[in-house]
Structure formats: C-alpha cells, structure tokens
Symmetry: C2
Subunit: 315 residues, 2 copies
C-alpha cells in the first residue's frame, strides 16, 4: 500500500510555485576523496532553510477550503514548526505552533518571524500533544505531523524526484533518517524515478532506532538520544515505516565525531552551511566509501539551520 | 594609462579553462531588507575559495616558457599564497611561497596541500622581501605581487566582467579593498562592461588607508590594522592606485561589529560561508542602504576561507 508514482508527480506540480527547485552541487575534491561522483541536493537553500518546506506546503495545499480557514497546528521546536508557519503564511492560512516553553529563543523568534502563533507547553510529548489537542478543540485547526503523514512524505519525495531528473543514472541516494518522513519520501522517488537506484538511510549511532527497527521488523524507540543531529532524535511512524521497510536498502550508522568531521568538511570545502542532520548523510558516505567507489551517489543535504553561537567545531 | 577593455577580454579567455565561472546568487529577504536588487558574485565558490585564483592564473599564463620553467614566488600567508600554489601546480609550474614562521599551521597546510614550496621567514615585510629576493637569486623565479601587478588586476577583473555579462543593468558594484587589486580590477570591468555602473569600495574603519588615499591623492598607510578582515590590512600600490583614483566612485568604511553582523547575516540567510573580507562589502551595502534603494547592486563576495575554530560570532 505504498503511495503511487503519480501521487508524487501530482505533489511536485502542486508545490512547485511555492518551493525552490534547489541546486545540485558537487565537489571535485570530495569526488576524488571518495573515488565516486557525488551529487548534493541542496535543501539547505530551500525556503526557511530545510526540505521540510516541501511537505508542509503539500500538506496544507491538500486541505479543503474549510480546513484552510480553520488553520493548521503542529508541535515542533525545529524545522517543521518553521516550515508550517512559513508555508501557512504564504498560503494565507493560520498556523498554531506548539513549542516547549524552554525552546531556544532563536527558534521561537524564527517561528514568530513567519507569523506563526506560538503556544507554549511543557516539553514532554504528552504535554505537547495535549496543547495541540486543546487548540484543535478551540479552533478546528488540522493537525500536521512532521513525518508520519502521507502528504508530508509525498512533498518530501519531490527533492529526490528533482535530483533523479537532473542525475538520472544515480546508483544510490543517501538521506538522513529521524522521524522517517524524508527517508520514506526519498525512497519512493528513487524507486519510481531512478534506474535501479538504491536508497540508503544515515543515522546517528546515538539514536539508531531506524536501524534497529529494520532489524526487528517493528518500530523501535531510543532510550537516550545524545546526538548533535537534533532533527534526528524522533522515531519512525506507522505510515512511513512500511515504506522504509519495503524500499530502503540499508541504514548506515555514524558516530558523533564522524558527523562533526563531515559537517566541517562540507563547510570548509564547499563553502555552504549545512546542519548536523545533513552531515549525518555525508558522514555515511565517508564511512562506507568502499561501497560507493566508482558509483554515482546522490546525497540529500536536508537543511542549513544552525545556531552560529553553538557550533561543534573544536569539540 | 589604465588597462584597455580588450586586455580584460583577453585575460577572460586566457583563464577561463582554469577557473570557475562562479554562480551569482541573491536573497529575497535581503532584497526586501535593502529595498533593492542585490546580486552576489560568489567567489567563495572559486577554486581554492577566493577570487585570488583568477589573478594568479592570469599572471602565470603570461609568463614566457623560460620563466615558467624557473617558477614563481610570492610572499603571502593568506589567499594569494594558496592561489599561486594551486594555479602553479595546475599549470605545471613550481611555486615558492614565503610565509612567516608564525603563520597558522592551517594556512601552511593549505599551501602544502597545493604542493607549494614554503620558505619560512620572520614576519616583517623586510624579512619576507629578503626571503623572496633570495629565492629569486637562487632559482630565477618570477615574483608575483598579490595586488600591485597588472596581470593580477586583469585576472581579478574577470569576476566583475562575468557579473556584468549576467546582470547588464547594474547601477553599482561593491568590492572590498585591501591591497587594491580586486577593487582596481572590479572598477575596470564595471567601467568597460557595465552601463554607467559605478564602483564602490568597502573598507574596515580600522584599516581605512584606501579611503584616506583617495582623499589625499597619495598612497596612505595604516599605523594599526586591528580588523577581523585579515585580507584587507595591506596598502594600495602604484599600479592599482591610479586606476582606483580614476574609476572608483567612493569608499564606504565599516565598523568591526558591522562586518561581523553582515557575515552572520549571509551565513544564516543564504547558507553560504564567506570570509570577513567579503562581509566588509556586504556591511557597506547595509550601511548605505538609502543610497542603494530601488537600484541593482552587484557585490563581489571575495572568498570563503575561514578558520572554523576562530569564528567571531558571539563576540
């Protein structure tokens, strides 16, 4: 029961006026180091700085007029909260963003900057869900899940669709995996629009729930998630897990030091700002470079939102 | 006696197989903030990470075969040393780079990585010049000055030439000024290839020798140069100063805090890594934004080589 090819094509057409078709970059020195041709899909250059814009726009555009009038709600202190706020504003819809009261001010400011209406809650999942539920009761707003929502997954898939259209002979696409919405979407696009293109997930060793879920066949969780890749601490969901199970070839796990080194490599060599979650995919590429020798590999650089006052270099 | 249009065109054709025609980027949010259309010429994406590659390649390609066999020498602990090393290697020429023995190891490693032959010297100008002279005596190598050399200036001019070709209706081009090689080249290209396009220099207040030189009509120096823009501490030279005097409209001076804010703005909003010297031009744009309202402005982002362990954010 995985989504069909034409559903991704429809999402692509639906959202294209509202998102950037981001550039695909490469680095000669990186290619030499890996012994392969690597193509980076730069979602760090996407609107609001991350691929999340694609899923947010697609999900909102799929709402009925009545639903749009009531608004949307999500609980996310990260990129999806910002994406929903900006996508909603651009589409003339109200966005209620539930954020933990202890979320960094810079993240609250970003959501406010996109005219999101912030509701503060305790930082537990239960408290956030309760706060969202209250808003839904009061306003009739539609809840948008950051990763376990078919329209979000279809929107996310359009990044890899664009990449496959530009580089039709990819052997692999690597994407980071946290909640699973990007990896599920990427695997769908690579399956439908690639030529025997395998999808590989990359995950911090410190939050390797997706790796363990693929091994056990059921959704596993993390007891701890001490990773710098703060976008990848969440778990798979019942909508994306079956897609990932069917279409993802493998999950590569990487250490924190490998994530930081990969992030530094991309900043220094390619002069672009990527966030730690994106660096997880690059770290996977470096870690398994023997597997990728002489191949064509696409890498989804998922986003570029970092706090410049809290950089990990030199740690 | 300023260089002619066809000399820049010849330099462009000469070097184009050896350098990148770098992308021109813009930011909708920056345009909104400034109330103008701003086009960033991204020399941070140039080979070795700075526009200096253009001048170095052009100067080396202008040598006779005999000169090429003897090699080239420069004294620079910064981007020009790296540019000469890489350009020379790519063109099959030996490069001797005189560097102060107390230069950061990361800069020595960069030159070594491009197969440059490092000679260490004391850090005074006199010691560097003596060390260069000694190499010239011993090897017959040709000295390349980082900024006060016509072939270097002509090579540098090709960045603004490409920008004018892409954006033919620019009203202004802003470039940072240190030794004057980039600003002189930029002003030539903007004069010959723009349509009434004015050239503006941007300079740290802490090292405002170019501003004072244009006022007094002779080359002024800095007693101190406590600026984060370490590429801009040097003084104008007798070859580039007449060009700058004739073709540059104005020098905007900016404070250190304005440089750091501009650098942060570009990293955060555009997700690209620029070095402080580039940020000086962006800071000039912000500082005089009333002047630029409703205009088309090109900005030369001169380079992206920064030490990620020594970032200024949060200072």
């Amino acid at each position: 029961m995985i989504p069909k090819k034409n559903e991704i094509e429809a999402a692509y057409l639906r959202i294209q006026a509202h998102v950037h078709n981001t550039p695909v970059l490469f680095s000669s020195s990186l290619n030499k180091t890996i012994g392969a041709e690597v193509f980076f899909k730069c979602e760090n250059f996407q609107k609001m700085g991350a691929f999340k814009m694609r899923g947010a726009v697609n999900a909102i555009l799929q709402l009925s007029e009545k639903q749009k009038q009531a608004g949307v709600v999500t609980h996310s202190s990260g990129n999806f909260g910002q994406a929903v706020a900006l996508a909603a504003r651009n589409l003339g819809v109200k966005a209620y963003i539930v954020m933990p009261s202890n979320a960094p001010q810079v993240k609250k400011d970003a959501v406010k900057g996109y005219d999101g209406i912030i509701s503060e809650s305790e930082s537990t999942i239960a408290a956030r869900e309760a706060a969202s539920e209250k808003i839904i009761q009061q306003t009739g707003a539609t809840f948008l899940h950051p990763s376990n929502n078919t329209d979000v997954i279809l929107g996310n898939a359009t990044a890899a669709l664009e990449l496959c259209n530009m580089q039709p002979n990819l052997n692999f696409i690597i994407a980071p995996v946290g909640g699973g919405g990007l990896l599920a979407g990427t695997s769908l696009a690579s399956y439908y629009f690639g030529k025997n293109c395998k999808t590989i997930g990359a995950e911090p060793m410190e939050a390797d729930d997706a790796f363990r879920s693929l091994q056990s066949g059921r959704i596993e969780t993390n007891n701890t998630a001490n990773t710098i890749a703060d976008g990848l601490k969440t778990n798979l969901g019942d909508i994306n897990f079956p897609i990932i199970t069917k279409l993802v070839d493998e999950i590569i796990r990487v250490e924190e030091s490998e994530i930081i080194s990969a992030m530094r490599y991309i900043w220094e060599r390619m002069k672009i700002v990527i966030e730690p979650s994106s660096a997880v995919a690059v770290a996977g590429l470096f870690k398994e470079k023997n597997k990728f020798k002489n191949k064509q590999i696409g890498v989804i650089l998922s986003g570029g939102n970092v706090d410049l006052l809290q950089l990990p270099f030199g740690r």
